[in-house]
């Protein structure tokens, strides 16, 4: 079973990321049972019947605005945000907004071009689940990659994981 990082640990996870191809209209889709992240468009088309399903999450692409999910946050168990390329940094702001402004308490998962050298930043911005592409890392590599979550022990600035900046957390010598 594929492994993901959840709260700093490796766990098995079988959720599918549903990706529509060009020919599939979100309205006409019928969803199979089982854990899945559906695209935002599918959620919009079916939110009535999908709402509250504990094994269902919604995924947003990096250009989609998290604010559009706000009315539904109470009925969504998990949100995934896609990194189309690891250099597309919009997902960091999206996750931070979900946590701080919109108070989302469910899972926020990083999906797409997700690489270990960005794990630290993801975690700081409020991602509690990290799912590299299938085949990107072996289980052993992913185990090793957990170390990247701890690259820096005392960051300067406030972020989701550490809501106070260093100058408020620590008594720094003059």
């Amino acid at each position: 079973m594929p492994k993901i990082i959840k709260n700093g640990q490796l766990i098995d996870d079988e959720a599918r990321i549903l990706i529509l191809d060009e020919s599939q209209a979100p309205e006409e889709l019928t969803l199979a049972a089982g854990p899945v992240f559906v695209p935002f468009a599918v959620w919009q088309a079916h939110s009535g019947q999908l709402s509250g399903r504990a094994d269902l999450g919604v995924w947003l692409d990096s250009h989609e605005d998290v604010a559009e999910l706000v009315p539904d946050l109470g009925s969504i168990a998990a949100i995934a945000i896609n990194f189309p390329k690891f250099t597309d940094g919009r997902a960091y702001s999206a996750a931070a907004l979900l946590r701080t402004r919109y108070g989302f308490k469910g899972e926020i998962r990083a999906i797409g071009d997700v690489l270990r050298d960005q794990f630290f930043f993801m975690q700081r911005c409020g991602f509690d689940a990290i799912q590299p592409k299938v085949g990107k890392y072996s289980d052993a590599q992913l185990e090793e990659a957990l170390a990247s979550l701890k690259d820096f022990s005392a960051p300067y600035q406030a972020a989701v994981d550490q809501p106070e900046p260093l100058f408020r957390r620590a008594q720094r010598a003059a």
């Binding site: 919009r90 702001s93 630290f120 809501p163 720094r172």
Partner: protein, 560 residues
């Protein structure tokens, strides 16, 4: 100056360990070129024409003698015996071996230095006034604010993958010496009517392909809120800046597209949420950081040292140097010394390991152990007693560090260009050296007076050609190297972007072209007018005429 506490040191040490492991994984084939690229760039490591280039951060341009000795050591041990001062006050090494870079970073960490965020699509090294703390026109010392913002921006998790690079500059004096109008964020320290410190904030300036002068987004942000305000700007930019086209990805393009009023509205709307939050600065933190930038133990001295006065009278070469490279200091009896890196036999901004060691020694002997790097690619000893200037000059002259041309035509700003940089259209260093060779007569240079000539090897504008009084830009014409000339650019309070005068030139023509431009100026100048003032008054026409001749100008007009 700022000294690391255990937290600062730990972050830098952890960075060394992180990059060591990243380099190991890259060399072992676990990281692809594409994956490693932003990682190495955020550590200042470019792959250029011959070898990697390592850019080391010099926050707000301030260095200790210990740090400069370490730079000398690195130049000697890992490089070819020299380093390069950049137009953003950083230091570059042109020849390090990739696999040794982690070693270099480990050495730098022992003297509280690093290469964090000196390149890449992130918040870059924060630049400032090289005369901070000693200039007579200073209102507020920018250095503590530079340090506060350095810490905030270091590994900011939300802004490590912006659409494009992001540069911040701070100035705290009447005259802008930090080019704040050409930065993504330009900060001008000021006081409000109640005497409270705050910042005038400019946004969306920049050079590169599309030069833009920054627009005022706020007339006054109180100091407590400067971090949250910058975060609001960055969040709007990170979310809405263009990512589809590298050339349209800088914040200046977003600000232009939205208009400054709409951009401001979006920033203010965002700021509502961050303002007064945990990133709001505290008096204790500002006091802690400011406490590092203490006034040195100045002696009380007469305003004019008698010995200095008579040395100048007795020695014309010394007098010439003091006239250009020695600047007024706010404390009586002291002076600010520009250690010139514009010896015509070297690339502008280059400095050897031996010279670096010497400058470090002089800093210890004469200037409280501190050195500054300027964006005009010189070094500065900021606190020298007038009575010691002569001794310093003799040593500097012997080391080819006393070229008495600060602010003159041959004090050229110049990017590495085609000799090093793989993006270059044309070489820039040989053009600088050829112009320096042409104008080697000091009296003539003094007569020409204050003027800035800036050269970039391509549109990226690393050599600030857009804001040179004379700007030279390398262009590619059918695979050949040509040079386009612009006039009327300017940095400082009256920042302006230069205008191209006409068709471009071959390298061999360039000294003549500059001569012709200077001749027009000398013929046109009215009493006491500086070059840039003449250009502003007359416009480009007389210069076009002088450079291209009457026939060519007429023909162009007819064709236009």
């Amino acid at each position: 100056m700022y000294r690391y506490d255990p937290y600062d040191q730990k972050i830098v040490n952890e960075r060394v360990a992180q990059f060591r492991d990243q380099t190991r994984r890259y060399l072992a084939g676990e990281l692809t070129d594409e994956e490693f690229r932003p990682l190495r760039l955020q550590n200042g490591l470019y792959i250029q024409r011959h070898a990697p280039m390592l850019r080391v951060a010099v926050p707000y341009g301030l260095l200790s003698s210990t740090q400069v000795r370490k730079m000398a050591h690195i130049a000697r041990t890992y490089d070819k015996g020299y380093a390069h001062i950049t137009t953003r006050q950083n230091v570059q090494f042109n020849w390090p071996e990739l696999k040794l870079v982690p070693e270099i970073l480990a050495e730098l960490a022992t003297v509280e230095m690093h290469a964090i965020q000196t390149s890449g699509a992130c918040i870059r090294n924060i630049t400032s006034d090289p005369f901070a703390g000693v200039a007579g026109d200073e209102l507020i010392d920018p250095r503590p604010w530079g340090e506060i913002l350095r810490q905030w921006s270091t590994f900011h998790p939300e802004f490590a993958f912006l659409p494009r690079k992001f540069k911040i500059a701070i100035n705290g004096a009447r005259e802008d010496r930090a080019v704040i109008q050409c930065h993504d964020i330009g900060l001008e320290l000021k006081r409000d009517a109640a005497g409270e410190i705050g910042f005038r904030v400019l946004v969306g300036g920049g050079m590169g392909r599309t030069p833009v002068i920054g627009a005022e987004i706020s007339a006054f942000v109180p100091w407590q809120h400067i971090i949250t305000y910058c975060e609001a700007i960055l969040r709007v930019y990170n979310r809405y800046g263009r990512r589809d086209n590298l050339y349209k990805a800088r914040i200046k393009i977003l600000v232009k597209a939205l208009g400054i009023d709409e951009f401001r509205r979006q920033v203010e709307e965002e700021w509502v949420f961050g303002k007064n939050g945990p990133n709001t600065l505290t008096e204790a933190e500002v006091a802690r950081v400011a406490g590092h930038f203490t006034t040195p133990a100045y002696e009380s001295l007469p305003a004019d040292d008698a010995g200095y006065v008579s040395q100048r009278a007795a020695n014309p070469a010394f007098a010439a140097w003091t006239r250009r490279n020695v600047l007024a200091h706010k404390v009586p009896g002291y002076a600010v010394v520009v250690v010139s890196l514009k010896d015509p036999s070297r690339a502008p901004g280059d400095v050897t390991d031996v010279q670096l060691d010497l400058v470090a020694d002089w800093a210890d002997t004469y200037s409280f152990g501190e050195i500054r790097a300027t964006h005009e690619q010189n070094l500065v000893l900021a606190d020298v007693k007038q009575s010691e200037l002569f001794a310093l000059w003799e040593k500097a002259r012997a080391a080819n560090l006393a070229t008495p041309t600060f602010g003159l035509l041959t004090d050229i700003i110049c990017c590495p260009g085609g000799d090093f940089c793989s993006l270059a259209n044309a070489k820039s260093i040989p053009i600088a050296n050829a112009i320096q060779a042409r104008f080697d007569d000091l009296d003539y240079l003094y007569d020409i007076g204050d003027i800035e000539l800036n050269i970039s090897g391509c549109m990226n504008s690393c050599g600030h050609h857009h804001v040179g009084h004379i700007g030279v830009l390398g262009v590619d014409k059918n695979g050949e190297e040509w040079y386009q000339v612009s006039l009327g650019g300017s940095q400082g309070n009256h920042t302006s972007i230069g205008k191209v005068i006409g068709r471009s030139f071959a390298a061999a023509e360039m000294p003549d072209v500059v001569s012709k431009i200077i001749n027009v100026y000398l013929a046109q100048r009215q009493d006491g007018e500086r070059f840039i003032e003449t250009v502003r008054r007359t416009g480009l026409d007389p210069f076009k005429l002088g450079v291209y001749g009457e026939a060519a100008v007429k023909e162009r007009k007819q064709n236009a």
